[in-house]
């Protein structure tokens, strides 16, 4: 297959970008007066062990079309900011009531509910501000920036991730596909699309990235659910009950594996449309394989 022939080293590619992104995020959210809000924002944005999957996908999509990664970094950072904002709000007692996130106390556990709400409210606009203030104007025309802003705003908004969170809380029957698409697919879609937009991809290429990113976003989550199930066994799963829906919970492991396979081939099929870009498409392929294989840990 492609990944064998090109000997592309995803781990190096990814870890290098994680270091870059972390460095830029650290600069993008400084501590100034009033310190507490900045500390609260930094706590979530700079949490240890973040995989930075969205920013890395954004950079990879931008580079596919010959875009400079310097053009993509501000948007890549913004994706992490708005994502962190969503997660901070999702964890609140009145929402998922989650005292921890990625093994650390969640934002409101440390800073209180009021600061957690405000940290989220500050991170959303900071994301937009970061894009328009820091994207090199010689690399990206302003009209493209406006499309990126629009894409991100729609993704986190009332028909995107907020909709997913709402339907998740509401817990309607058989909504798992929809909830997963909204909560996880949207972010993957947005990350890939923004990379393409920044590099000036054509509309049909952006559409292809859209379908690719959405499939990969959901694929990650489905595989996470499967791995979780395998690791914990049935008893442990009880405590996951109120925390969002999973394919595994609704359909069982067998069916979830089937779904994962389908998403994998969907994502790959979309990438076939980028053949003319040669090896540039390899990083995007490797994300799909990694989502399924988890061949290394980050």
């Amino acid at each position: 297959t492609r990944s064998k022939s090109t000997r592309f080293d995803l781990k190096t590619y990814w870890t290098t970008l994680i270091a870059d992104i972390n460095h830029k995020l650290n600069e993008a959210v400084p501590v100034r007066y009033p310190e507490l809000i900045y500390e609260s924002m930094r706590y979530s944005v700079l949490a240890d062990g973040a995989k930075r999957a969205s920013p890395v996908m954004c950079v990879a999509a931008c580079e596919l079309f010959g875009g400079d990664r310097l053009a993509a970094f501000p948007t890549a950072c913004a994706l992490e900011m708005v994502h962190a904002a969503s997660l901070i709000h999702d964890d609140l007692p009145c929402m998922d009531d989650d005292p921890s996130r990625r093994g650390q106390p969640s934002n409101h556990t440390v800073y209180g509910e009021d600061m957690a709400i405000l940290a989220g409210d500050a991170l959303f606009p900071l994301g937009f501000q970061h894009i328009v203030s820091n994207t090199p104007s010689d690399l990206v025309p302003e009209a493209r920036l406006l499309r990126v802003i629009t894409e991100i705003a729609r993704t986190v908004g009332s028909t995107g991730m907020a909709a997913g969170q709402f339907l998740d809380l509401e817990g309607g029957p058989n909504a798992v596909e929809f909830v997963q698409e909204k909560k996880f697919g949207e972010m993957g879609e947005c990350s890939a699309v923004c990379g393409g937009l920044l590099a000036g991809a054509k509309d049909e290429e952006v559409d292809r990235l859209r379908r690719y990113g959405r499939a990969v976003g959901v694929l990650y989550q489905v595989v996470d659910d499967i791995l979780e199930e395998k690791k914990n066994g049935k008893d442990e799963n009880e405590k996951k009950e109120k925390k969002g829906k999973s394919y595994v919970k609704v359909y069982g492991v067998e069916k979830a594996i089937e779904v994962a396979e389908k998403l994998r081939s969907q994502a790959k099929q979309e990438l076939d449309g980028f053949e003319k870009y040669g090896d540039g498409v390899v990083p995007l392929h490797s994300f799909v394989d990694y989502a399924v294989d988890r061949s290394f840990s980050l």
């Binding site: 809000i37 009021d114 709402f166």
Partner: protein, 304 residues
């Protein structure tokens, strides 16, 4: 009851406000339609269309027209500013923040839709404000829209609204809060968004840098003025007259201008801010400046 001495006699402020507020309301109604999931959009519309005086959007449109733009150039920005204003009210009213049951004379968003939906509706309004500004602004060059996006973002985040709210929360019960500190809170909590409204209007209307900066200073003064008057009304008016809980600042042990300088001095300060604000408008065409002059007077002399 409206003071008209500084406006041209031909300018009817009441009619102006009613007409502008109506077009803002129509634009808001059209911008946020009822779609799936219905509940979130209902919650967004519940607070966004709850009336309100539309001071911010009207300021935005008036500033746009003052520098030679038409209403339509600024309307998406005007709506965006009102969406942000509404969003901040929804989140401020939450139990873990100010814990308010009443807003604009109606039950607060979380009282009707629950806290979870109120948080999401606020978040959705916040992001939609940016989407609307970016997508629906027509007839303005992208560089000016980008500048507007940056201005909007800066005024609501940790350098703006949120900063004011954070410092405000941590000032409750403090005994040594001085004027400078109080001014920080209000410049961020209240003035930032009024400033943003005026600056967005002047950017999108095609204003020059010096016009934009003059209007920014104007807006900063009336932003502070807005809060001083708010503080005065909180101690002098009833809940019914205000359409929100009166005397709240006293109960919450909040620092206010009347508390720091007394009612009379606060009123004098308000007068001075209004004068300083209007001085910024001297270099503009006075006929075109009439709405902003009247708006400043309205903010100074309003009764609720």
């Amino acid at each position: 009851e409206q003071k008209e001495e500084s406006g041209k006699p031909s300018f009817n402020f009441k009619t102006y406000m009613v007409e502008k507020a109506e077009s803002v309301n129509r634009a808001l109604d059209a911008a946020v339609s009822l779609k799936d999931p219905i509940t979130i959009h209902e919650a967004m519309r519940y607070s966004l269309l709850a009336g309100g005086k539309r001071v911010r959007p009207v300021l935005c449109v008036a500033a746009c027209e003052l520098v030679g733009g038409s209403e339509s150039l600024a309307m998406p920005a005007a709506c965006a500013v009102e969406m942000i204003h509404t969003m901040s009210l929804i989140h401020d009213d939450l139990p873990c923040m100010d814990n308010d049951d009443l807003r604009r004379g109606k039950p607060t968003n979380h009282k009707v839709f629950g806290e979870d939906v109120a948080v999401l509706a606020g978040d959705a309004l916040l992001s939609f404000a940016f989407e609307h500004l970016a997508v629906s602004t027509v007839g303005v060059e992208p560089s000016r829209i980008v500048r507007a996006v940056e201005e909007l973002a800066r005024s609501i985040g940790s350098e703006g609204l949120v900063a004011g709210q954070v410092v405000d929360i941590h000032s409750e019960g403090l005994s040594d809060v001085g004027l400078e500190h109080l001014e920080y809170i209000h410049l961020h909590k209240t003035a930032a968004l009024l400033e943003c409204a005026v600056v967005l209007g002047s950017i999108l209307g095609g204003g020059s840098d010096s016009e934009i900066e003059k209007l920014r200073t104007f807006a900063r003064y009336i932003g502070l003025l807005f809060q001083v008057v708010d503080d005065i009304l909180d101690v002098t008016k009833s809940s019914q007259e205000l359409g929100k809980t009166a005397g709240k600042d006293l109960v919450a042990d909040k620092v206010t201008y009347p508390k720091l300088m007394g009612i009379e001095k606060s009123k004098e300060f308000a007068e001075k801010l209004n004068r300083d604000a209007q001085e910024q408008l001297v270099g503009f065409d006075q006929e075109k400046a009439a709405p902003l002059i009247a708006l400043a007077n309205y903010i100074a002399y309003r009764q609720n």
